[in-house]
């Protein structure tokens, strides 16, 4: 076949293929936060079974990317682990967009301890001394307790691998943006591993999503400063903001959602959607019953 002929054929073929796609299929564009991207992907994967006529295209890139795309009008739903800034809101309004916030989950982290550990509450300041580089606390008596069964009372720090969102958020809230974790933490590949290790190690302290808590570990009550009022991790305290290591995860739509986008948002907030949130290690926005 001559090249010119080949290209002509290919062109005809691609036009033919394009024109075949006349059947109605709604496409929802969903872009943004890397924290939410895996949950968003899980929702999209599952929603295909709920409504095969609707396809959800998921893209990551970060909260900023999603919000910018919403301002440009190239996405239907923007995922964000932070609120839209006033500047972004003004820009969106000036372009005729109206970002509407939907809180779809809470990212609440629990600090896990072995059930034998007598410690009940801990402050963010103390956590910084325990986890931070150059921190002063390395043994349990430093926070005023003696852990039975823990040889030489040395704390065993359980952490996450450094590309984990949980890792980043825990670091930001306890250590600040600049300070690093101390060397020698046990970095687990998954929230479940953290909980399992803490459950079997009396010297250990670890952090993970509230959803991963089991009966074999104890969760510390968290206060901002030492001696301050502490809050126990729960869906309720995460939702009302009294728990210090929780942040809302949001989806923004342009105006109040309508049509298939509305159906999708409603499904996300339904038990089915919220159970996926729970299974991914985040707190749902309300109490749900899951299998």
């Amino acid at each position: 076949m001559k090249p010119a002929q080949f290209f002509l054929n290919a062109l005809v073929f691609s036009v033919a293929v394009s024109s075949m796609a006349v059947e109605a299929r709604t496409l929802i564009q969903n872009k943004g936060s890397d924290t939410l991207v895996n949950v968003a992907q899980a929702w999209a994967e599952e929603y295909r079974k709920v409504n095969p006529d609707v396809a959800v295209a998921v893209t990551g890139g970060g909260s900023g990317t999603g919000i910018a795309a919403l301002i440009n009008g190239t996405v239907d739903i923007a995922n964000a682990s932070r609120r839209v800034k006033q500047k972004e809101m003004d820009l969106a309004r000036s372009r005729g967009q109206d970002p509407v916030k939907h809180v779809v989950a809470y990212d609440a982290l629990s600090v896990f301890l072995h059930p034998d550990n007598p410690l009940d509450s801990i402050s963010l300041e103390e956590l910084a001394e325990i986890y931070g580089e150059g921190g002063e606390f390395t043994i349990w008596p430093d926070v005023g307790v003696e852990v039975p069964g823990c040889k030489d009372q040395t704390m065993i720090l359980v952490s996450r691998q450094n590309n984990s969102g949980t890792y980043a958020y825990f670091r930001k809230i306890t250590l600040g943006k600049r300070r690093d974790f101390r060397l020698g933490t046990r970095d687990m590949h998954g929230s479940k591993d953290v909980v399992d290790l803490v459950a079997s190690t009396s010297c250990a302290i670890g952090y993970s999503g509230l959803a991963y808590a089991t009966d074999h570990v104890k969760m510390a009550c968290i206060s901002k400063t030492k001696g301050g009022a502490c809050a126990n991790p729960s869906v309720a305290t995460a939702s009302d903001g009294s728990y210090p290591i929780a942040r809302p995860l949001m989806m923004y739509t342009d105006g109040e959602p309508a049509g298939e986008i509305k159906n999708y948002m409603e499904w996300i907030l339904s038990d089915a959607g919220q159970c996926i949130i729970l299974s991914k290690g985040y707190a749902p926005v309300r109490d749900v019953k899951c299998d």
Partner: protein
């Protein structure tokens, strides 16, 4: 008849030394390629199966196959080629056969060289600004492929122009002397003799297009898409972006998976290239000089 003098021997030794030296350097160049392939096959070979190639990703992309990404990459490359090859060849024909050496062609040549030097992420931003937003195509295969096409246009133009210029001038002159017009000469004599060189450009373009992640990330490729693209106006998954995503974004991916995806990506490039290389060899066999 002549015994080798000491001088002859020294020349010969130097000769051997340099030959060995250059050979060693060449061997060192092959080493990374072999190491990469060996690593990929060793770590990812076990995951390759029909199910992996033709299945959908499941369980948050930690299991199942990669077919949507594989299929999407074929689309992206095909549409990019459809755009850039005709454009690139036409531009090269003009530059090589029609254009005189004046300021206009010099500006064009400068532009081509500069276009080749622009980083792919800049092409990505251009693609978002021009195709997705300005022309309102939206994030789609078309926008992504147009971005890729523009990025690889210099490769096609330069390869084509060089292969056109490699066609001996006597061929053209003989043709003109028979009374053929310029276009008839190009159509019947110059282009057919330059096809193998043009294919070289296409090979280079295919390789680059398949592997690029940045230009498609914002213009048409999705993190996850629960359907296969049906037209150029759909978004798509792509192998290169899929590889990036499963290595950096998705926790708990089994180790073999990213290596398997990389192996498929390289295998695909090799397959497409070997097709073009076979075609090129066949065409070269028909060359008349």
């Amino acid at each position: 008849m002549f015994a080798a003098t000491e001088l002859n021997q020294r020349d010969k030794n130097t000769q051997t030394l340099f030959r060995m030296g250059f050979m060693l350097v060449t061997a060192l160049l092959i080493l990374p390629v072999l190491l990469i392939l060996a690593t990929l096959v060793y770590k990812g070979g076990s995951i390759i199966s029909a199910e992996f190639l033709f299945g959908d990703p499941t369980n948050g992309m930690r299991e199942g196959g990669i077919f949507p990404a594989l299929y999407g990459t074929v689309w992206l490359v095909a549409v990019a080629l459809l755009v850039s090859v005709p454009l690139g060849v036409a531009a090269a024909v003009y530059l090589s056969e029609y254009a005189g050496d004046n300021w206009f062609t010099r500006v064009i040549n400068l532009a081509i060289i500069n276009l080749a030097g622009v980083p792919s992420i800049v092409h990505a931003l251009f693609g978002v600004g021009a195709f997705v937003l300005f022309f309102g195509i939206g994030t789609s295969i078309l926008a992504a492929s147009l971005t890729l096409a523009i990025m690889t246009l210099p490769v096609v133009i330069v390869a084509t122009r060089e292969s056109l210029q490699a066609v001996p001038r006597e061929f053209r002159e003989a043709c003109w002397n028979m009374g053929a017009t310029r276009w008839q000469t190009i159509r019947r004599v110059v282009l057919p003799n330059a096809v193998s060189g043009i294919l070289t450009g296409v090979i280079l373009e295919v390789s680059r297009t398949t592997g690029e992640t940045a230009p498609i990330m914002f213009t048409g490729a999705a993190f996850f898409l629960p359907f296969l693209p049906e037209s150029v106006f759909d978004q798509t998954m792509a192998l290169s972006l899929h590889l990036y995503v499963i290595t950096t974004q998705v926790p708990g991916v089994p180790e073999a998976l990213p290596f398997g995806v990389a192996l498929v990506l390289i295998g695909m490039v090799l397959l497409m290239n070997s097709f073009s290389i076979a075609l090129r060899m066949w065409l070269r066999g028909r060359k008349k000089w």
